[in-house]
Symmetry: C2
Subunit: 121 residues, 2 copies
């Protein structure tokens, strides 16, 4: 069998686009994605699934309709299914996302930040 | 709602036992667990699920019946379901594990390194 290890920094070095998650691994029907965030994303939710953010580098925040959280390197947060949220990063921030295969970055909100899905790096 | 963030280093500071995974978060029916590894684990497999290792600190290796991989900080590996493996760490190594709720650390192998399941930190 192929015993390929995945290095997060190496994978991050292979793309530069913001708000464009790249798949690096699959576990069962879940995907691990790296993303580079900068600026303000759109308000959206994922009606069918929770979504995990783990900050690899930098800082970001996530706005909710009832509050806001700050996340720095080594911080993790689980956005519950159906909860509207808006990720933002004043400076470029690198995150690891975990969610089921098929989840679209903007949920049903769409718009110009809608990224092509299932793009591997 | 409760907007609690999770800091990996803080959670790691709260336990010291080796080979005893602690749950830090749930996403749908999956759990994120931190574990401190040192020494040799037992040969085992998980017949129903893949299992993700992400190294947070230190180095480890995973033996397979047909080879071996080395993992350092920032490295990730997905052990496919049903594949026998034996994690080892010469010095203490901290890892983040991702797998469905209910997975037992030794699979069906049991033994003295069988850890209580679903222990949160």
């Amino acid at each position: 069998m192929n015993h390929e290890t995945i290095n997060l920094a190496d994978k991050l070095s292979r793309f530069s686009e913001h708000w464009s998650p790249r798949v690096i691994a699959e576990m069962n029907d879940y995907q691990f994605k790296l993303a580079k965030l900068k600026g303000e994303f759109v308000w959206h939710d994922h009606t069918d699934t929770d979504e995990v953010f783990i900050v690899i580098k930098g800082t970001m925040h996530i706005e909710f309709r009832d509050g806001l959280i700050q996340l720095s390197e080594g911080d993790m947060y689980v956005v519950p299914r159906g909860v509207e949220h808006k990720p933002c990063a004043a400076e470029e921030c690198h995150v690891l996302l975990v969610e089921p295969r098929g989840v679209v970055n903007t949920g049903q909100a769409g718009g110009e930040l809608l990224a092509e899905n299932d793009v591997w790096v």
